[in-house]
Structures are given as structure tokens and as C-alpha cells.
């Protein structure tokens, strides 16, 4: 029991020669309500102090990488939905962009701006869930219920664009499936008008709340060096003080046309992660406002552009399929997955809700990917959980888990 030696004063004192252990094994998960997903933490606790922990993942592994090897490109988008399902539009867009990079498609600016609006809305809804769950886990339920209304509004915007809410399958290779309608823009305007006040109030509820601060400050901290070594990305890395953001470092989808800041923390503890996410929501709002202004500036024919011209991969309009030979052929080839993909290997990453979401796509010139690997941010940084919680209290372990924004769907692929 070498790992236990640092406990000077164990709560359980055993008689000499006993083979019992002085610690208790506690299973946090796989279906504990505080795990917010199906994964298990086997904690060794001494009283309420955590001595060591081991994580088990894989309960909902669905073999996405294997399935993707038999799917035409457009059928892989629904698989990406189910990675980080709190912000599936970002995953969808990331996948579309990977394919577009492989195919060498450049998108019209308007499409890129629309994508940015959707991706930033998704980021807000992702951070909103994560931060309000941190609240729930520390005993403050009100914030969670209050902000759900605005996540609902975001979901309604998705609904106007793609018809679904959680697993969105939004957009297509080369653009969007349809132009944003007036209701979508009206809802976006409503969101932009009302959400700042809500976010402000959310912050008022939490940021300087004495109980909340006591619970979060110092819980699950990590330094910048360790965070980098563990492969942290996204808000969790930025909370540790490293300003790495894929949107800034490798701008995609015209993110370089926008002005925004990358908030960073310093201690890498739960409180900093919470604050970083809140700040990022403000920055996302800034980006959406700018992007919406740019979208509105398109007039006439330009304002109707919602996809690039890629007949090999973008489904033609239904009325054309019924009346035009060429459209019919493309439609058939796309639906049957009979378009060949150029040979090549490409890595593309986007700033997902919880970190750098990467797609490593190898094509051998066939109709499906030869190999597709998802770089799933929370799978990589969840490894640090043991280090983050060892030596802390049991209640810190719960709060650390929710503040890391772990999504079981993404972890298990």
C-alpha cells in the first residue's frame, strides 16, 4: 500500500497483522447522477479524503471509427452528432470542414459566417449546460433552471435551420441544407437581445457567491505544464493559463474576420474553469453579433447563397432531380454513396465546446474513408482526473467532474 503512505493519520486504525485495508473503495458511477454520463470512477477514500482513483470509460462505445470505414462521407455526419452531443453543430461543421479541406472546396463567405453563428450558438449552449451543472453539483439549482430557457431558444434556432434539436446533423458538405429562414433570424435577434441580461444575472447568481466560491476555489487544480502534458485543450487548458484556442491558432471558417478575446485563468481549478467558460460565452455573443451584422450586409443574390457549388457532394434541389437529368444522376450517386473521394490524408480541427476536436481522415481514393480517427478532447484530458482529485475531498471530485465538461458520448466514441 505504498500509495497510502502519505496519509499520516488514517481514519481507520487496524490491529497489527490485519490484512484489511485502511481505506474504503467507493464507486462513483457508472450510473451515479453526479457523473452526468456513463463512466465510472473507482475512488479509494479515507474518510472523505480521496487517496487515489481510477477511471473506467467505454460503457457507451459505439465503434464510430469502424462504422465510418463503411459509410459515404455524408452518412458520417450523424455519427459526429453523437460525440459531444451538447454542441453537436460544432462536430458536424468540423466534419464538413475536414471533408471540404480534403476535396479542396472553398465556401462563400456568407456560408462561413452562417456556420460561425451556429457554431458559436452551440458553444454557448455547451458552456451553459456545463456551468449550470457545476451550479447544480454545488447545490445551486436555480441557475440551471433559469438558463435552460435560453438553451431552448438556441435549440429552436437549430430547429428552424435543420429540423432537429440535439443530434442536429446540421449543414451539408459544401454549406447548409437550406437557407436560414426569417423565423431563424428573428429568433437569433431575440436571443441576442435577451441573452446578455440573462448571462449577467447568471453571473450575479454565482460568481461572487460565497458558498459557490468556497466550494470551487482550489478544487481540482492543475498547472499549465501538467495540463499541456496531459493534452488539455479548450476552456480547461485556458483556465490553467495557456491561451491556446484553435479559432485563433488555426483559424477556420473565417474566424480571422472577427474580433474576440481569448479569456484565460491562472490556477486551473474549478472556479477558473467556470469563469473562463462564462467569459467565453460573452465572447461568443460578440462573435455572433459581428457575424450576424456581416450576414445582414449581403444584399440581393448574395443574400441567398447558402452552399458552395459542389454537385458531386451537395444534393441538388428536389425539383431539379425530377426535371433535370444531370441533377438526377448526382442525386443518385450521392444517395447511393457512389462518389469517389480523392486520395489523401488530412487533419482538421475545430474548437469544440470542450477542446480541440480533430478529425484525421485518410482516404485511399475509394468511396468511404480508409481510416477516420476522432481526436476527442475529453477522452484525452479525462486521464488527468486522478491527478486532479487525489488528496482532495469527495465533494471536490464531483464538482471537478462536472467542471471538466466530460461528455460520455465523446469519450467513448
Amino acid at each position: 500500500m505504498s500509495e497510502l503512505q502519505h496519509i499520516k493519520d488514517p481514519h481507520i486504525v487496524l490491529p497489527d497483522g490485519s490484512i484489511e485495508k485502511t481505506t474504503t473503495t467507493l464507486n462513483l458511477g457508472p450510473t451515479h447522477p453526479a457523473t452526468h454520463g456513463v463512466f465510472q470512477n473507482i475512488l479509494e477514500v479515507d474518510g472523505e479524503r480521496i487517496v487515489s482513483s481510477e477511471q473506467t470509460v467505454g460503457y457507451i462505445h459505439r465503434a464510430f471509427e469502424k462504422i465510418a470505414e463503411r459509410r459515404p462521407l455524408y452518412q458520417i455526419t450523424p455519427l459526429t452528432d453523437r460525440l459531444n452531443y451538447c454542441s453537436s453543430p460544432i462536430n458536424n461543421m468540423g466534419w464538413h470542414m475536414t471533408v471540404e479541406k480534403l476535396l479542396g472546396i472553398t465556401l462563400p463567405k456568407r456560408v462561413e459566417y452562417l456556420r460561425i453563428i451556429i457554431m458559436e450558438l452551440a458553444r454557448i449552449s455547451d458552456h451553459l449546460i456545463c456551468n449550470s451543472i457545476v451550479g447544480v453539483d454545488s447545490g445551486a439549482f436555480t441557475g440551471f433552471l433559469y438558463v435552460m430557457q435560453y438553451r431552448e431558444l438556441i435549440y429552436e434556432i437549430y430547429e428552424e435551420v435543420c429540423g432537429s434539436r440535439l443530434t442536429t446533423n446540421i449543414g451539408r458538405i459544401g454549406g447548409f441544407e437550406r437557407n436560414f429562414n426569417d423565423i431563424a433570424f428573428a429568433k437569433l435577434e431575440k436571443f441576442l437581445a435577451e441573452y446578455p441580461a440573462v448571462l449577467k444575472e447568471f453571473e450575479n447568481l454565482f460568481n461572487r457567491n460565497r458558498i459557490f466560491m468556497e466550494r470551487l476555489i482550489g478544487a481540482g487544480p492543475i498547472g499549465a505544464d501538467r495540463a499541456l502534458n496531459y493534452g488539455f485543450t479548450g476552456p480547461n487548458l485556458r483556465a490553467a493559463g495557456v491561451d491556446y484556442d484553435v479559432r485563433v491558432h488555426s483559424p477556420y471558417s473565417s474566424y480571422d474576420d472577427f474580433e474576440f478575446e481569448v479569456p484565460v485563468g491562472s490556477t486551473g481549478d474549478c472556479y477558473d474553469r467556470f469563469l473562463v467558460r462564462n467569459q467565453e460565452m460573452w465572447q461568443s455573443l460578440r462573435i455572433i453579433e459581428q457575424a450576424y451584422a456581416k450576414v445582414k450586409a449581403f444584399k440581393g443574390k448574395d443574400a441567398e447563397v447558402y452552399h458552395a457549388d459542389v454537385p458531386e457532394f451537395y444534393l441538388p434541389k428536389k425539383e431539379d432531380v425530377y426535371t433535370k437529368m444531370e441533377a438526377l444522376i448526382w442525386h443518385f450517386k450521392i444517395v447511393m454513396g457512389e462518389t469517389e473521394i480523392p486520395k489523401g490524408e488530412v487533419y482538421h480541427s475545430v474548437e469544440g465546446g470542450n477542446g480541440e476536436l480533430g478529425f484525421y481522415l485518410i482516404s485511399d481514393g475509394g468511396r468511404t474513408p480508409y481510416r477516420l480517427h476522432f481526436r476527442r478532447p475529453c477522452f484525452i484530458y479525462y486521464q488527468a482526473y486522478s491527478e486532479l482529485t487525489s488528496g482532495g475531498m469527495l465533494s471536490d471530485a464531483v464538482i471537478t467532474m462536472s467542471s471538466l465538461n466530460l461528455i460520455a458520448g465523446e469519450m467513448d466514441a
Binding site: 470509460v57 481526436r375 486521464q383
Partner: protein, 176 residues
């Protein structure tokens, strides 16, 4: 720091051992013999100019037709200071069917904590034995599984339905 510089530094250090330089879609890619993977990673990590200290991703690819080089282990490294990414590959022959592992590669866990689970995942799906790994066991699949599912000899089932007997649907003439 441009790609030519990285290439030049690598050739200075390792000479003929590093080969296959190319840059598909703008990312410098190269390979080295599999025994040298740690040496190359360590050099890339320690060098005061290269500073590839962030392991973005690690995965394997199976090329069954590539005799003697069936398995590729791909490291994706990132220099966060200069914002440069590179892709580093090692190829390994695959062990005969029935062997406990498909290949042996030195583990990168001493260098990157992030490699721990990524290597476990690669082991789980491709059967690569990461020599020196602290806890090499399956991570996604059940422990009892006795094969490595991402290898190409295990294709997914055909999507066209065979369980539907045409006779049942009034079309007759089922092939048996």
C-alpha cells in the same frame, strides 16, 4: 519556423533514418524506423527550437497490403509557441495471426501523459503492444474480447440486407 527548417534539423540529427518527407494538405509528415520513435519524439520535445511538446493525437492505421509495414502509428505533434503541427509516423510489420500482440512499439507515456489512454485505445483496437506502458489494458472494449476490431480483416457487415427473404415479400426465387 518553416517546414524546411524542421526537415533540415531532423536530417542533421538522424541522417538517413528519417525518410518520407511530404506535406499533404500543408502538414509536414515524415517517418522513422519504429525502434527510433522515442528518440525522435524526445529530440522533437527537447530541442530548443523545435519544441514539439504537445501531443495532439496518436492513432494507428492498418494497411494489410503493405507487406512488412502493415501497421502505422501516427503521432500528431504541435509546437504551441510557434504554432506548427507535424505528423510523425512509424511503420511496423504485423505479427502472425494468433500472436498476443500485433506489433511492439515503445511507449511515449514517459514523455506525454496524454499518450497513456491514446496508446491504450490503440492497443484495444489494433493490438499494438506499447512496450513499457504502465497500464496496457483494453479501454473501450470488454476485457474478454479476443481480437482487435479495427484491423482490416474484420470488415463491417455488408449493408445490403441478406436477412430479408425475398420470398416472404412476394418476389419469389430466394437463393439458397
Amino acid at each position: 519556423m518553416d517546414q524546411d527548417y524542421i526537415k533540415q534539423r531532423l536530417i542533421e540529427k538522424f541522417g538517413e533514418a528519417v525518410t518520407g518527407f511530404e506535406s499533404p494538405y500543408g502538414m509536414l509528415t515524415f517517418e522513422a524506423p519504429k525502434e527510433m520513435n522515442l528518440k525522435v519524439l524526445q529530440f522533437l520535445y527537447d530541442d530548443e527550437h523545435l519544441k514539439f511538446r504537445f501531443l495532439t493525437d496518436l492513432c494507428a492505421v492498418h494497411y494489410p497490403d503493405n507487406k512488412g509495414r502493415e501497421l502505422a502509428i501516427v503521432y500528431l505533434l504541435h509546437n504551441l509557441v510557434d504554432n506548427v503541427r507535424i505528423r510523425f509516423k512509424v511503420f511496423s510489420p504485423i505479427n502472425e495471426a494468433g500472436a498476443a500482440y500485433t506489433a511492439d512499439i515503445y511507449t511515449a507515456t514517459k514523455l506525454f501523459e496524454a499518450a497513456n489512454w491514446l496508446e491504450r485505445e490503440t492497443f484495444d483496437f489494433f493490438g499494438v503492444n506499447f512496450v513499457g506502458h504502465p497500464n496496457l489494458k483494453r479501454i473501450m472494449n470488454v476485457e474478454e474480447m479476443d481480437y482487435y476490431p479495427m484491423l482490416k480483416q474484420y470488415p463491417l457487415e455488408d449493408q445490403s440486407r441478406v436477412d430479408k427473404d425475398d420470398e416472404m415479400f412476394g418476389r419469389g426465387g430466394s437463393v439458397i
